[in-house]
């Protein structure tokens, strides 16, 4: 029965092709998620680090010494990266170590902060004030980014659930119930048209969901997966209900 069920998809080459591509692309979609989590954890720790550095510099410590100490005290990726980079800076200059740290974080926020600190050092600017202002700026920015993410993540997931799962199953239920193939209804062309529609609708839904959360490029990896899922759900549900 299971093989029978699976063989019913043999007529639809596009679904099978999309399913294989979808699985492969979904595997490619995992690294951007991990990278984003890592980057956001670094960025969320940045204001705290800058504030501590501002206090330490205000207390009369040198920036390098303050950074090394804060790096050791800051838990997580940011502290670890900072300590590693500064410890390796014995073989190079402090500027080079800062640049290396900025590029290792792969965060544009950290890179901008480091460029500003570097310029401030070169211009002999008041570091304590600059660090404190930067800490407040980035704290507000991160709060805003976190707010957007937390408020829109639920809605983004809802779109994917509604459009990629709910919609195909609902229509399949209606079609399977009122025009079952086992009663002689000729619905092969109809199913093919509708499954293609659900694939396109799922692609649109997934992209809108990604755009809402500001990560459409990352979501592109998941588009074939959701397209294949909605097509399989529709065709599978029609087959199960309508025979």
């Amino acid at each position: 029965m299971i093989f029978d069920f699976m063989e019913s998809f043999n007529d639809n080459m596009f679904v099978l092709f999309l399913f294989v591509i979808g699985i492969a692309c979904a595997a490619g979609g995992i690294p951007p998620i991990i990278e984003r989590n890592r980057r956001r954890s670094i960025e969320n720790q940045l204001p705290g680090l800058l504030e501590s550095l501002s206090d330490a510099v205000g207390a009369g410590r040198g920036l390098q010494e303050a950074m090394l100490e804060q790096g050791r005290n800051t838990p997580g990726v940011l502290g670890k990266l900072l300590t590693e980079t500064l410890e390796s800076s014995h073989a190079s200059s402090f500027d080079a170590a800062l640049s290396a740290f900025a590029s290792k974080t792969r965060s544009s926020q950290v890179q901008r902060v480091i460029v500003l600190i570097d310029t401030a050092i070169q211009q002999d600017a008041p570091l304590q004030n600059i660090l404190s202002d930067l800490a407040m700026d980035y704290e507000r920015l991160n709060d805003l980014m976190n707010k957007r993410e937390s408020e829109l993540a639920g809605r983004g997931i809802l779109i994917v659930l509604f459009v990629c799962i709910g919609l195909p199953v609902l229509i399949a239920f209606i079609v399977g119930l009122f025009a079952p193939a086992k009663s002689g209804y000729q619905i092969n062309d109809f199913n093919s048209t509708f499954s293609n529609f659900f694939a396109v609708a799922s692609a649109v839904g997934a992209l809108v969901s990604g755009r809402m959360m500001g990560r459409m490029r990352d979501m592109l990896w998941w588009v074939p997966f959701w397209m294949a899922t909605s097509m399989l759900l529709y065709l599978g549900a029609v087959k199960m209900i309508g025979g």
Binding site: D124, K147, V163, G166
Partner: protein, 193 residues
């Protein structure tokens, strides 16, 4: 796209200019520093200005900034360029104005993010409504000839299956188009964080 990029970078550029100029760097050197990169489209613009200046073909920084004002698409960027132009021609207090602009722009950014979240509140339901009503109606239209059988001809006359298929295809395309248009709101109203 340019407008969104400008909106995304402008606040950082203002903060950087503020830090650089407060610590004694001149406007031209500050523009050169930003032009080196890290601020997207604005870095490219400033880099183009500095290249023109260093090539000797330019009439001066103020003319280049004025020319850039025509190219700028976002209000914030245009306002910043205008502030720099005024500083160059009338020697105004640029740092103070930058601080005020930065504060105002940050308030605008907060407002636009809140509005964005509010505006997108109904998108899932709207997408589902359009994505559901269209296919339900079209599924019935597509299946009517088979469900009603001979009775269909008695009610609505002779039915051309080809025409029914065309109506269903067209309707589904319109449904997708409607979904795209609703989804486009998520892109066009992006506050650019």
């Amino acid at each position: 796209m340019r407008k969104l990029d400008e909106k995304k970078e402008i606040l950082y550029v203002i903060r950087t200019l503020d830090v650089l100029m407060s610590s004694g760097v001149g406007l031209e050197a500050a523009l050169h520093s930003i032009g080196k990169g890290g601020y997207g489209i604005i870095s490219k613009d400033f880099s183009a200005i500095m290249s023109k200046l260093s090539s000797g073909k330019s009439r001066g920084l103020e003319f280049e900034i004025k020319a850039m004002m025509n190219k700028a698409e976002s209000d914030g960027y245009r306002r910043l360029l205008n502030t720099m132009y005024t500083n160059l021609t009338q020697n105004t207090d640029l740092i103070e104005t930058l601080r005020k602009q930065g504060k105002r722009m940050e308030e605008d950014r907060n407002e636009s993010v809140n509005k964005y979240i509010e505006d997108l509140g109904g998108v899932p339901e709207t997408l589902l409504s359009i994505g559901m009503i269209g296919p339900i109606i079209l599924a019935i239209v597509g299946l009517v000839p088979q469900i009603l059988g001979d009775g269909a001809e008695a009610i609505i006359g002779s039915i051309d299956q080809g025409m029914i298929n065309s109506i269903v295809d067209g309707g589904l395309m319109l449904t997708v188009l409607g979904m795209i248009l609703i989804g486009l709101k998520a892109h066009t109203k992006d506050p650019g964080l």
